[in-house]
């Protein structure tokens, strides 16, 4: 019944042919289709995830990123560190307001940082571990006191980790802000939300850089079956869609632009292990799993030409990518078996449940299960809906789960999420390792423009992976298909920026 409807929808959409007409090309409206369904609209609750693509039109951050991935002013006009590097003073632009008319001021910044650190369902708590306090200096100036020297803070406060909701809206009703009425200071304001179905956004003229926003309206349609997205583009229902790797060729053949590259949007798929739960309390089991995993098979079967086999949660070319890690645990099932045998485990003695989100990680779990079976590890797959899975994953009660992430604007934040106490992707939290903490301290204390920054970042990435509980499976470039009438979005890692994006009429 349901499948029949989906198929019929796909066929009907496809029947309209590949016309470039419709879909808002004449109305400066982005008709956006995605299979994703955001569960929250408060950036504090959402965290720095792929879902921020839907939040960044509504919320602006203190800082933003340019195409060179350098930090640029946004709601803040600048920042200054003290000589010791453990305090940062941020100066806001004058006269800014949120979409509800309340002021963007130092109080609002402090309020949101306090909320990140104290709100029970905050997904950013771990990322802000090193921010100890926010102090209002005057209406436009706020100071952050840090636990240790840390030059990553402007990156943490940029785009994915630093979106600023209205203090008044969050104070009045945080649930309403998160579910039905998000209010920020971004380029678009919310006109309508239909939960789990769609959101309609309209250009907000009060945005500080409104002159650079040419798109008038964005309509995002959620929960669209992936197989219907390209037919939807062809029929003009959408003019912008986040598609799966399996659909890239179809979209390209139909004449749509494909934006896909690790310089834009990428994802990393990994297995999170809980070192506090058997059988992963034994480091030999973790080591054996690392040898048992074959990233090349994941990339080949699931990447559709956009996958990359990596033994670390970053794609090649990323500043935190470490060449040495690739050689540390190459695919070697014989070695995995040998490690398990030496540790006293017989064939099939080790068994565990692989958790995950249904309809997102099914194929990943299936390939992984077969790879582990080949070395004598028995697994059962248990996929559930996001809400139920999230209770176990974020509550750190699952033993193992497949999951993915899309990187972070602060490279250090990308590491702390995986390997630090409280990191949302650290299933073993509060576990963290001493070598990682030492390397983390060093990279935080290194200015981003220092020649030592790269090597120290990679040293922290290496220490984190080696001593952490993440087993990387593969990385891939996420794909967007769009009509040619919509100009390219700036290529900024993990950020769909609508600045400068225009429609060409008449095609």
């Amino acid at each position: 019944m349901f499948t029949a409807l989906v198929t019929a929808g796909a066929l009907l959409a496809g029947c309209s042919g590949g016309s470039a007409a419709g879909g808002g090309s004449g109305s400066d409206t982005v008709h956006w289709g995605t299979k994703q369904i955001p569960v929250a609209w408060d950036p504090v609750v959402t965290g720095s995830t792929a879902a921020t693509n839907y939040l960044t039109p509504i919320y602006e951050s203190l800082f933003t990123l340019d195409e060179k991935r350098e930090v640029k002013p946004a709601l803040a006009e600048g920042y200054e560190y003290n000589p010791a590097g453990d305090k940062i003073t941020i100066r806001l632009r004058p006269g800014l307001t949120f979409q509800d008319g309340t002021p963007v001021n130092a109080e609002a910044v402090k309020f949101n940082i306090d909320r990140i650190k104290s709100q029970q369902n905050s997904a950013l708590k771990g990322s802000y571990n090193n921010v100890k306090a926010a102090t209002v200096i005057d209406d436009r100036t706020v100071r952050l006191d840090l636990g240790q020297q840390d030059y990553q803070i402007p990156r943490l406060l940029a785009v994915r980790g630093g979106m600023l909701p209205s203090k008044a809206a969050a104070q009045a009703d945080p649930v309403k802000l998160s579910q039905t009425a998000p209010v920020g200071a971004g380029p678009f304001k919310v006109v309508e939300i239909v939960p789990e179905s769609k959101i309609v956004l309209e250009k907000w003229d009060g945005y500080w850089d409104a002159a650079n926003i040419h798109v008038k309206r964005i309509e995002i349609n959620f929960g669209i079956d992936a197989s219907t997205l390209v037919p939807g583009l062809q029929s003009g229902v959408y003019n912008f869609a986040q598609i799966d790797g399996a659909q890239i060729q179809q979209a390209r053949s139909a004449g749509f632009d494909i934006l896909a590259g690790v310089d834009r949007q990428w994802g990393s798929t990994f297995l999170s292990l809980n070192l506090n739960k058997a059988p992963f309390t034994d480091p030999k089991v973790v080591e054996a799993i690392r040898y048992a995993v074959n990233p090349a098979e994941f990339a080949d079967k699931l990447g559709f030409g956009k996958g990359e086999p990596t033994h670390q949660p970053f794609p090649k070319g990323h500043p935190a990518y470490v060449d040495a890690l690739e050689a540390e645990h190459p695919y070697n099932p014989a070695r995995a078996r040998e490690i398990l045998a030496k540790a006293g485990y017989s064939d099939g003695e080790i068994s565990f449940e692989i958790g995950g989100v249904a309809n997102n990680f099914d194929q990943v779990a299936e390939v992984l299960q077969e790879q582990l079976k080949a070395v004598g590890i028995k697994t059962t797959i248990k996929l559930t809906d996001f809400a139920n899975w999230g209770k176990g994953y974020y509550g750190k009660t699952l033993a193992a789960s497949v999951f993915g992430y899309v990187g972070r604007d602060s490279h250090v934040q990308a590491l702390t999420e995986h390997y630090d106490t409280g990191g949302v992707l650290n299933l073993s939290s509060p576990y963290t390792s001493a070598p990682f903490q030492q390397a983390l301290k060093a990279v935080r204390a290194t200015p981003l423009d220092s020649p030592d920054y790269g090597p120290r970042l990679q040293a922290a990435a290496k220490a984190g992976y080696e001593n952490g509980s993440t087993v990387s499976l593969y990385t891939y470039a996420s794909a967007i298909a769009k009509k040619k009438s919509l100009s390219d979005l700036p290529a900024i890692d993990g950020f769909l920026s609508w600045k400068g994006v225009t429609f060409t009429h008449g095609d």
């Binding site: 796909a10 197989s227 079967k301 059962t380």
Partner: protein, 296 residues
Amino acid sequence: MIRTLLRLTSARVALALLAIIALVTVLGPVLAPYDPLKGSGRTLAGPSGKHWLGTDYIGRDVLSRILAGAPLSIVSTLEVAGIALVLGTIPGILSVYLGSAFEWLSLRVVDTFIALPFLVFAVAMTALLGNGITQAMIVVGMLIAPVFYRVSRAATMSVARSQYVEAASIAGASTAWIVRSHVWSKVLPSVAVTLAQTLGIGLVVISSLTFLGIGIQPPTPTWGGILASDLGYLAQKPYAPVFPTLLILAAVLACNLLADAIRDAAGETGRALTGAKTARTNRARRLAAPADPAQP
């Protein structure tokens, strides 16, 4: 009734289809040419001499998965029908005889279940009970049970008011005796029709739930699960969903044909089973009748 039924062409076609499906269900896992869970390097390959229906996204033989998936797909459907039958029919009959309090309560419960959005309830109950095949079967069975409740209650009410039942009651027959001797024979044909329809519905609903990731977990093959995953690779293998869809369609068609045949064979009264000629007349009358009695 069975003899009458077997003389109807639709019933014979339905039973032949169901026999084939039963055969596939019993022998499918044995007949599967490859391990249905084992992948290979040949992903999304088209039909060939080695793989008659091609391979899936991780290189598993599609024919083997369809054959191996038959028992779970069919047995889970039978489970759903059984749960719905028990949960719906017994309270439906008892609601007529157990007094107004039970009648009121059972009707309100049934009204509530009818009002619940099907898939939303399934998702919520799975969240509550856990995501497993048993839980999914219970949920679907609960949601289909009101159909059995309504059908059995209506049939029981009509027989409960008949003169021969009133006569039996006046003569001192107990409620249990009346239900055993008079009510069952009246209710059973209607329930049998509903059961046949439910088998068809159950198969599609189980497929829908598998499609949503509820119930059966990967890599266990089911027809619904195979169909769901095939839809993700339409660009590479546009014909792939046809194979599991044909099987689901055949099973649903067979159940519906059988349901129609039972109704035709049972006749209007349901109690006195009619001969094949009358059954064919019933069928002709049913097909000639307007879909909406209010329409001329």
